[in-house]
């Protein structure tokens, strides 16, 4: 009788155990809301590109790599695998108001990170995790994530050296 009672108690406990959800060690994490930062503005007056890049204005479309007679500033600073690449590897020849992937699929300027991610897959992966790049706003709520082009110049992506802010005053130079 005793054993039966014990067995019943035990089975009851087990059965009960299956219905009770396991205790939560940690509260479920707050849902992060990721908000895309507004893409940085293009140079004033440059967009839409089709106002100049227009077959009606320029005649026949020439897609061979060459030194251009315009966009001098960009050509001068262009340093992004410049040996192997030129404008039309990213900019779409047929519709200059968009970029294109290697597949030829168009990508708008506000989604340029998709284009960057084709080659820089490791950075793209880290950026989506929040490890590469920068997020501002709320660590537990609405986070605004910056795009590649907020920090990197797409034509010359390597960071340029900057002037540091002043060093601290040495204790010997401080009045007490």
């Amino acid at each position: 009788m005793f054993w039966m009672a014990l067995a019943m108690t035990l089975s009851g406990a087990v059965a009960q155990g299956t219905h009770v959800p396991p205790p939560q060690a940690v509260k479920p994490p707050v849902k992060h809301q990721l908000v895309e930062a507004k893409a940085p503005p293009l140079t004033d007056g440059i967009f839409p590109c089709t106002q100049c890049h227009n077959e009606k204005v320029n005649g026949k479309l020439n897609t061979t790599r060459r030194e251009l007679q315009f966009h001098d500033d960009i050509q001068a600073e262009f340093h992004h695998d410049s040996e192997n690449r030129w404008c039309l590897d990213c900019h779409d020849a047929k519709n200059r108001d968009v970029l294109h992937l290697t597949s030829g699929a168009p990508v708008t300027f506000t989604e340029s990170y998709k284009l960057c991610g084709q080659c820089h897959g490791d950075k793209y992966r880290d950026w989506k995790r929040g490890v590469h790049g920068k997020r501002i706003g709320q660590w537990n709520g609405e986070k605004t994530y910056l795009l590649c082009v907020h920090c990197h110049n797409p034509h010359s992506p390597r960071f340029k050296p900057i002037k540091p802010l002043p060093p601290p005053i040495r204790p010997s130079e401080m009045k007490r």
Partner: protein, 309 residues
């Protein structure tokens, strides 16, 4: 000159000179008299108050209201003092990407402005940026915090910002003789500026040089004062107390990122909840190589250096 009667700090523990116990009582009496004469009831309350952790929420609220009045008058703007406590289920963690930092010191000055540090004489900066040789690796003995370059990063150098590591086993807390510093539930090590006696034991105990002392009345121009403060964080400090990084307690307990994270021009700084696997800090720790500064001392920092590349 008795510092008790001249200092205007609300804690009333400004007297650090050696005074014999009998005289001290008399001076205390005089100090109380002087405070009463000026009619500063809140200072009087501060003088007799219990240690911060023993105060009831109502007491804290009353004290905070007093400070808000006092600071608003002093700095000529509406100053708020928050007493927000830790958020449940949150343990703060900080990540710094050593492969990205360029040593530009933007974080140092953003921190100074956010946290109302003394600007000069004494100059107090909670973040120190160490410049080190790539050839040597992390070698604190050969690091330089006074580098003054036209441009950074300099060739052959790398940079390692150091601030309070918010240790889980903090030597500073263990050494404080009066219990004026402690670790909060969310991992932030805080200081009660009115309880600190200025003995600086914590400064010598800290292996990271993260604690700083107000050798003189802090210089904080009224127009530069950040009016959004926290009682255990960036509220104006009196002379003779220790201060340090609090992960911007006034911001982070309200969900914001610390000021240094938001200013960093290279995105080297990551912050979040260590208990949340989706947070940036956890993503960095789970996927990158992590380095703990002076790990051999078993201080168990909540601050992690990592290499993203």
């Amino acid at each position: 000159m008795n510092p008790m009667t001249t200092s205007n700090n609300s804690g009333g523990c400004g007297g650090s000179e050696a005074v014999d116990p009998g005289r001290r009582d008399v001076l205390k009496f005089l100090a109380v008299g002087a405070t009463m004469a000026t009619g500063a009831a809140c200072d009087l309350e501060g003088f007799f108050r219990k240690s911060f952790r023993e105060l009831s929420p109502a007491d804290v609220r009353r004290m905070v209201t007093g400070w808000e009045r006092k600071y608003s008058r002093k700095y000529g703007k509406a100053v708020t003092v928050s007493e927000a406590g830790p958020i449940d289920g949150v343990k703060f963690g900080y990540g710094l990407d050593l492969s990205r930092c360029v040593g530009c010191r933007r974080c140092v000055y953003a921190c100074v402005e956010e946290n109302n540090q003394s600007r000069k004489e004494p100059q107090i900066q909670w973040i120190r940026v160490l410049e080190m040789d790539k050839a040597h690796g992390i070698d604190i003995n050969h690091s330089d915090i006074y580098y003054d370059a036209a441009e950074v990063p300099r060739p052959g150098k790398f940079y390692m910002p150091v601030q309070c590591q918010q240790c889980d086993d903090p030597p500073c807390v263990k050494t404080c003789p009066v219990g004026a510093t402690w670790k909060e539930k969310d991992g932030i090590v805080v200081i009660d500026y009115d309880w600190c006696i200025g003995c600086r034991c914590c400064m010598s105990a800290c292996p990271y040089g993260a604690r700083h002392f107000n050798w003189a009345e802090p210089s904080l121009p009224a127009q530069e004062m950040n009016p959004k403060t926290h009682v255990l964080g960036n509220r104006p400090r009196p002379k003779g107390v220790v201060e340090k990084c609090t992960f911007c307690i006034q911001r982070t307990r309200e969900g914001q990122y610390p000021a240094c994270v938001e200013i960093c021009p290279v995105g080297a700084r990551k912050f979040g909840n260590l208990l949340d696997p989706e947070s940036e800090i956890r993503q960095a720790m789970d996927n990158k190589r992590v380095f703990i500064l002076k790990e051999e001392l078993a201080t168990h920092p909540s601050f992690f250096y990592f290499y993203a590349t």
